[in-house]
């Protein structure tokens, strides 16, 4: 399953470190999520969506 976390993060001009600090995880965790090597919990998905100002659908839903 792909996701668009990187796309929206770059759109918001945030680095992996910025996003990681904003939601209280490590930079490595963000990298793993963006490269689809780790499936985050719903709680973490919501935190990412809030920081990026988008919905869960925008980030994780595949058409």
């Amino acid at each position: 399953m792909g996701n668009r976390v990187k796309e929206h993060r770059v759109e918001k001009n945030l680095t992996q470190t910025d996003l990681a600090e904003a939601i209280g995880v490590t930079r490595q965790t963000i990298g793993l999520i963006e490269s689809n090597k780790y499936n985050p919990s719903l709680k973490l998905c919501i935190a990412i969506a809030r920081v990026l100002g988008v919905t869960l659908n925008d980030l994780f839903w595949e058409e």
Binding site: Q28, G31, L32
Partner: protein, 155 residues
């Protein structure tokens, strides 16, 4: 929501927490297997009857080492080290903290020897300090290397 007391021993980062739980669960499965093997060996040969305390100690050591080695090899300890400058800074910190530990370790070992709590020679003490700290330094270096490589791949 944290629902288990074991969470106080786990990292705050979600990915690290989940991986650590896997490692601990793997160690538990190994423990059950090990107990089964010991049970069978004891039943057919009685080899461990007189040395049960050594077995207990070795089980504790093996399980602790298993979780520790898996953690080091996973490359998640230094999760924020991506740039070469950060790598060099962490390497300096690592050498500093290992040196501090070596001094502390030697201090405790000398205190135990001087007070007569434990009996061993000065050569033993020196060898023990060098070996322990050498292993710690190598393990931390491998951990840093693997973390750095993994983080670079994910950036």
């Amino acid at each position: 929501m944290k629902e288990s007391w074991v969470t106080m021993f786990l990292p705050n980062d979600e990915y690290k927490e989940r991986r650590m739980l896997y490692f601990i669960a793997e160690a538990f499965v190994l423990f059950i297997g090990f107990l089964g093997v010991v049970f069978l060996l004891n039943r057919f040969s009685g080899i461990f009857n007189t040395e049960s305390s050594y077995i207990l100690l070795s089980v504790i050591a093996i399980l602790s080492l298993y979780v520790w080695i898996r953690y080091i090899v996973s490359g998640m300890e230094y999760a924020n080290v991506v740039e070469k400058s950060e790598y060099k800074m962490e390497l300096r910190k690592l050498i500093g903290s290992t040196s501090k530990f070596a001094v502390l370790f030697a201090g405790v070992a000398i205190a135990l020897k001087v007070t007569g709590v434990v009996v061993y020679s000065w050569v033993d003490l020196l060898a023990m300090t060098l070996l322990t700290n050498g292993l710690l330094l190598v393990a931390q270096f491998i951990s840093l290397q693997r973390s750095f490589r993994k983080n670079r791949e994910l950036s």
